[in-house]
Subunit: 717 residues, 2 copies
Amino acid sequence: MKTLTWDHSTYYIDRKPAFLVSGEFHYFRVPKADWERRLILFKKAGGNCVATYVPWILHEPKEGDFHFGDIPERDLEGFLSLCASLDMFVIARPGPYQYSELRYDGLPPWLCDNYPELRARNIAGEPFRISSISYLHPLFLEKTKRWFDAVCPRIAKHMRSKDGAVAMVQIDNELMGIHEWFGGWDYNPETMGFGREDGRYPQFLKKRYGTIAPLNAAYNTSFAAFADVRPTTGPKTASDARRVKDYDEFYFTTIAEYSSTLAGWMRGYGIDCTICHNSGNPNMNAYFRETVAALGNKEFILGSDHYYNLNLEWAQNNPTPQYAANMFMSLEMLRSMGFPPSVLELPAGSLSDWPPITGKDLSACYMTNCAFGMKGINYYIFTGGKNPAGTGVTGEIYDYGAPVSANGEVRPSYKALQRFGSFLKRNAWMAGSRRVSDVNIGLQWQLPRGKYSFNRVKEIGYSDSEAWEFTIKGALLSSQYASLSPNFADLSSDELLTTLTTPLIVPSSVSMSADIQKRLVSFVSQGGSILLAPVVPYLDEKLNACTILRDYIGSPVIEPITVQSPIVTVGGVNTVFMNGGLFKCVKRPDHAEPIASEETTKSEIGWSREMQGGGTVIWLGMHWKNATKEHAAMMRYLVRELGGRKPVVWCDNQNLLTSLRVKDNKAMLFVMNLFSAPAQATVTVDIGNGKHKRMRFSLGSMEVKTRKFTLAIKAGK
Amino acid sequence: MKTLTWDHSTYYIDRKPAFLVSGEFHYFRVPKADWERRLILFKKAGGNCVATYVPWILHEPKEGDFHFGDIPERDLEGFLSLCASLDMFVIARPGPYQYSELRYDGLPPWLCDNYPELRARNIAGEPFRISSISYLHPLFLEKTKRWFDAVCPRIAKHMRSKDGAVAMVQIDNELMGIHEWFGGWDYNPETMGFGREDGRYPQFLKKRYGTIAPLNAAYNTSFAAFADVRPTTGPKTASDARRVKDYDEFYFTTIAEYSSTLAGWMRGYGIDCTICHNSGNPNMNAYFRETVAALGNKEFILGSDHYYNLNLEWAQNNPTPQYAANMFMSLEMLRSMGFPPSVLELPAGSLSDWPPITGKDLSACYMTNCAFGMKGINYYIFTGGKNPAGTGVTGEIYDYGAPVSANGEVRPSYKALQRFGSFLKRNAWMAGSRRVSDVNIGLQWQLPRGKYSFNRVKEIGYSDSEAWEFTIKGALLSSQYASLSPNFADLSSDELLTTLTTPLIVPSSVSMSADIQKRLVSFVSQGGSILLAPVVPYLDEKLNACTILRDYIGSPVIEPITVQSPIVTVGGVNTVFMNGGLFKCVKRPDHAEPIASEETTKSEIGWSREMQGGGTVIWLGMHWKNATKEHAAMMRYLVRELGGRKPVVWCDNQNLLTSLRVKDNKAMLFVMNLFSAPAQATVTVDIGNGKHKRMRFSLGSMEVKTRKFTLAIKAGK
């Protein structure tokens, strides 16, 4: 059987770059007699791996009463052996949570029904829904350990290292989802240890503050000891916001602890393959910083789930450009963390029949994710079947509109998987490819994490959540609309300093860690150029004064503007439509030149400064959401002013997305029409050595086309 | 020149049924030299009318300093005369508000800048944005009167009755938008008269309660006099909810008073044509009940604005089935009010360039609105131009991506208007058509109006807002998905009693007016059958006990169920996916048979009762959002149980919408594919006399197709 390995950007099968193409395939739902035929169907669609939950609810129906292999639905090992015999890798997902539309999210009813003390609780102490458990509750860990004692050795027997099929094992499922979606963070007092000096929360605070005095100074409180401290919500002051932010971060460390505990147990049973986890959606990726720090990126992979529609409450019926922007952001986050970007649940159907999931939309979704860097895939679900008695919550049958139906029929959407699988196989070199960019957008992990802390504290100023919205809806969408090719650059990594020749857009709130501020100063000092928008940070991430960056760029004084109908001019671009916040500079740094103004209030809202011996700094006091051609023109102007090269991919139809992926001298251009009307475009690509390639495209609605060609020179890193 | 008349369902041109096809055409933006060419372009696209704002900001630039006709941009009368000479009707919109991306929403800056006391205020007394004015403020009325003194006589000269072009005059624009979108209702104390015995609010309350004692009983307060009463927000109790609801209704009466005042002034100047107004969006239609009561439906028309995307903050990029459902609801509301349903702003472009408005999407949007009953149209905008100096907020040019660009070029989207115009002309008989239905959904005006009052008061129970969500996302979408043809039936009108043979779905909160309860009792007593869901009302609209309907159906006792993963069975349909609230019946009426249950809690959640000498009553304790095929099967089961006929239009592709419009023996079938993948379908239509017509359809993405045919018998009313 083949080997599966990976590094920071690429999966390898038998040491050759390859896409990991997995499909969700539940041995407990698919009739055993049909396992082999359906597995072969998946192989024919390009699959090389299957993923399956291993439901606790099914294998320990009564407490302490474990069953494996007694009935076909519980024949986990039979399934793993069959996969090995078919040369298919397996991703095993033994929980403890599964979700998967199983009763109690896959936890045994006896656990939830008999131990109500396990339930996660909100800050008022009220329990969440019955199956939302407090992960680190000692009793839950005890019960989980017993489940792992039963299931993990069975999985361990089937490791790839022992010629088995299992190449990855997943800890839990969409961690934090059962909390955040049903009430917020968990404040279970037993788990968090409120009131106990040796409790988790007091210990976390002690580690952070040393003694109680600095905590009280930070929180504006008068607690006598760490054991007395309680969290708060709905902050109205900076002091409160610090307290909330500390709890956010504490909560994330409990997730890291829980993950490490599960992973440690798994290792103990001889599970020696990659351990993985799936973030519930792109916006949750950032919640896993602590977990990735704890588990590393060598033997652990974090992936994300990339659905576009699961029911009529979703914003869009299909994979729109707004979806594409969020998935690109997600894939870039995973890449920045040092993983080959993996979509551990990529839709192949939907729980709902309506709005429908069509093969056409699926194809557009797959090609778009691929264009933006997806290297590992797990279709959810490839095929379903009958729910074992008492386990399903959506009826007798779990069909999910999958490419192969619950009763085994091949649906038209199977063709979408087949076409994509064949594309990936023909272009396996792309598994080692990277996306060419001509502008970078600074990724600040704190921004998508700030929604509960200082989001709404007006006294602090422009918030993390606002800056995050601006990152996606302004900076990213407008650069794409300008036919630029933006990548994200992690501001917390020194790799940033290897990208000095690419202009860097830095969306920022008023808070930015000292570490990042220093790195940005280094970046500019060494010749890099940045656009800082819409504010200049004056606080660090703990909301204490920190003006390293501000001092360096010449101590500008920035204030918000309130004006009903602003008239904004930026550089040569007249009347940029404003639909976000505006800020004016009341004291411009020496040597800076004004470049932008708001006419009705006669405000200066942007300036540019060449730093002596360094690059250019542009500050622009605008938070906008992409809307008009002027936003694109403004982006092109700004990037040009930052010394950027001409766009590497020039598309004359601004509604289309493009992505150029290269490796050595191979190149693949993706052109994406994610709207519902057909479109034409001429695309010109800089292929190096001063040469260009010009291509015509004609695209139907929701269609992605590709063109493969050869570069004039070998592409750099 | 031709005549324009109308009745409750139809526009007539020269007394023949015809669609009113207007296009927004701003004489102050389009260069005068190009007026005629562009007007002729619009006629060629099927237009018979143009609409234009008459901006106060432009014609009274300094207070008291009126200008008309001095410069081409202000040549209103020249424009009106030209339209008459081209045989084009005109809808004149003199405000006072225009919006239209004009500075201060079209109000003169001197007015907003110099009279800050005019601004609308929130309940805390804080002013809204600068151009959000308190409509009935005496000073605003005084200034508006002076503006009307100047502009209205000029418009009156061009009445159709005097052989001029003006066939309609609009009062104000999207009333309440400048309040609700920027803070909520207006609580300006001067306007509302808080604290003054003769103030509007005290007088409203006095009229409603007579003496202060019943008010105090209702509100659980101890005010000494009506003058002392102040409104409240964020109700937590039924008493508070009554107080909020009274203010909602009071606010709506101020809108009626303001509208009547403007309309009265207009009549005084000799404006003798139809007066109209455009509700800002479908959900606001219900806010105009008081205004329609005041102005009637003989000389006044209420229309609505039906945009699908104006910027990336909109839920969808294109006219999806969710859009279609809301527009259908809107058109049905207008029909129920006794108007020929008119879309006074139908998109022909967008303020934003992105997401793009494509010709293909526009065609789908137009045909869908037509399928669901639109009789009058005003494209927003047909063509734009340069903003007069100092009036625009989106730059020098107001282009709006219109079919004819600001500089006069014909864009590809023009073809969408042309095709639709030609369709309407070829099928002018449809202007007098009605939609055939096989099930009715009860329209309760209070439901979309309840979002500020008892929406969140848990003690009261299932709220108006919840029932409204269920109306659209459950009852309507699931009936459409079941290939039924639902219409709305106004529960507050005795016309309901003429529809006894059509099953009636009655979504209800716990509150329903005594009037409606009585009418429903009459409906069933006379043989009509109803589905009541998900609760049985026990309060009237003032939240006082009222059990007329409940007593009649046998006094069931209903309670909410809390269950994490319900397993629901309805009639023959197993395991209906539940994604909303559930209610159980703890005491079933005598003679009622259970028809639905929730398995995990062993609850009875539905029953059916044949009323002696009357029709059938089914109660079903479910609030669902359409999602699965089981929802459709359940709807078909329920309608069958209510004695419904077979679906009049049977479409074998559940993702497609259909609408059958008939007049005499003419029929037009619309089949709508509002998703992004192509679709096929076979549609069978009952054409009367036991005959059926079978048709095959093949549709592209976002495509609407029609088939015209003849019925075997003349269709009834």
